[in-house]
């Protein structure tokens, strides 16, 4: 009964994360391969689908709470499902933003070779994949690794900022394109944060403690245990 319904909800969330992940990949690929159609797809088709899923999952979660009064693990799973639901929708929003900026940049001359942004994208997608897998398997270790991986993304973001500011200072005509690049990087960095949130939710369910915003502790913990 309740277990079945929670399981179905989780399955839908997994699909949702997959959709969001693909949106991220597609929006950056659209930029790299200068594929305007792909960018449009992200904005029009995928974003709509994601929003619909968010609404459906929210309504379902509310019904489950009302009808089944979940307790213990079930309760934590439901609460995190609600949080993940919101976060994934936001990932979609950010991916949509990236696609929008890609549409601006594609017809215009490239400001600089894209190195960091694809690297960030790769890292972020790995984080999303890992957080998805840790959701499916309740894999604590994997979740912690996701949280730690965010540092790399943050660093890359700072690098992009520095680089692009450099270009924009030398050539003020490139400011319009530069800012878009910075914004893309920023959105990707936020997506990384949201992936971290998902991983923190997984930890809440498996360890029944809140692991919110404890990146430093986790880094230390993993270093002690000899990972990384």
């Amino acid at each position: 009964m309740i277990e079945d319904r929670i399981r179905e909800l989780n399955e839908r969330l997994v699909v949702m994360v997959t959709v969001a992940r693909n949106m991220v990949e597609c929006s950056v690929r659209a930029l790299v391969e200068k594929d305007e159609d792909l960018a449009h797809q992200v904005i029009e088709r995928d974003e709509v689908k994601l929003n619909q899923m968010e609404i459906e999952n929210l309504e379902d979660a509310v019904k489950i709470i009302a009808l089944y009064q979940p307790t213990a693990t079930n309760l934590r799973m439901l609460v995190t499902a609600l949080a993940v639901n919101r976060d994934v929708e936001r990932i979609g929003d950010h991916a949509e933003n990236v696609a929008g900026f890609a549409l601006y940049l594609i017809p215009r001359p490239q400001l600089k070779p894209l190195i960091d942004i694809p690297r960030m994208t790769e890292a972020v997608m790995r984080m999303l994949d890992d957080s998805l897998r840790s959701m499916l398997n309740g894999d604590e270790k994997l979740a912690k690794e996701v949280i730690v991986a965010d540092s790399e993304v943050d660093q890359l973001d700072r690098q992009v900022l520095q680089d692009v500011i450099g270009y924009m200072t030398k050539d003020p005509a490139s400011i319009d394109r530069g800012t878009r690049l910075i914004l893309i990087s920023q959105n990707l960095e936020r997506i990384g944060d949201l992936a971290t949130n998902i991983a923190e939710s997984v930890l809440y369910v498996t360890k029944s403690q809140l692991y919110l915003h404890r990146k430093k502790d986790i880094i230390r913990e993993l270093k002690e245990k000899g990972y990384k």
Binding site: I2, V62, Y68, Q69
Partner: protein, 252 residues
């Protein structure tokens, strides 16, 4: 459009001068669970007992309105009340197995309706006990006295006894209120299973049980039907403020 197994139309009921049920209109959907909930004394048990005409046994009981079982008014003179009770079975709040063996308890219904073939009875007893999730526990002890079973087992025995005559509707009057939480949970599992084959109407004052188990919920107060609708809707966004207050525990 799913069929209504039972349609209660403008039902009013009095015990002597007191009106117990006021203008009740409910449509019970076939092969689903309909819960009737409300504070003590709201008339929910009385309503349930009207569905198999057990209220006929009470003196000074006056009734207006109709109740259709598959499009036939159960109060019309052509209706054979013994047949009605065969089609509409009932399980009571306090388990009440007869002081006989488990086998004889379950076989009782068949015997009073004229079935005496031992083979047929045996088969139906086994099937009923399986349907009631009791076969595993008593299958090898059918000759044991029913009174030696635990409370939860006795209640499931009463369900098996009702199921043995293959009713179409099962009326449950607060079936879990006399049971411990584990037996109560087992009973809920059983009800989930039963709705595949039977239409179930359950009276309960346990809100959580009603929400877990039913697809339709009726909320009654002081003899009136305050609200009736899909359980999901009643529990997430009730339309009547009285329902809302009841769900939030403000009274009853």
């Amino acid at each position: 459009m799913v069929d209504a197994k039972i349609r209660i139309e403008n039902l009013n009921l009095w015990f002597g001068p007191t009106q117990i049920l006021k203008q009740i209109n409910i449509s019970v959907t076939e092969k689903q669970v309909t819960a009737i909930m409300g504070p003590s004394g709201c008339g929910k048990s009385t309503l349930l007992r009207t569905l198999n005409r057990m209220n006929d046994l009470i003196e000074n009981c006056r009734r207006e309105g109709k109740i259709y079982l598959d499009n036939t008014d159960i109060f019309s003179p052509e209706v054979d009340i013994y047949e009605l009770r065969k089609r509409v079975g009932m399980v009571f709040q306090q388990p009440n197995p007869f002081p006989m063996s488990v086998f004889d308890n379950v076989a009782y219904g068949m015997r009073i309706h004229g079935i005496h073939n031992r083979k047929i009875i045996s088969e139906h007893v086994e099937r009923a006990l399986l349907d009631a999730n009791l076969w595993e526990e008593v299958g090898d002890k059918l000759r044991k006295s029913a009174l030696e079973l635990s409370g939860g087992q006795q209640q499931r025995l009463c369900i098996a006894r009702a199921l043995a005559i293959q009713p179409e509707v099962l009326l449950l009057d607060e079936p879990a209120s006399a049971l411990d939480p584990i037996s109560s949970a087992k009973l809920e599992e059983l009800i989930e299973k039963l709705k595949t084959n039977y239409t179930v109407v359950i009276v309960t004052h346990n809100l959580q049980q009603a929400s877990r188990v039913s697809q339709w919920t009726a909320f009654m107060m002081l003899g009136e039907l305050v609200e009736f609708g899909p359980t999901e809707q009643i529990f997430t966004a009730p339309r009547d403020s009285r329902t809302e207050n009841y769900l939030r525990g403000k009274f009853g």
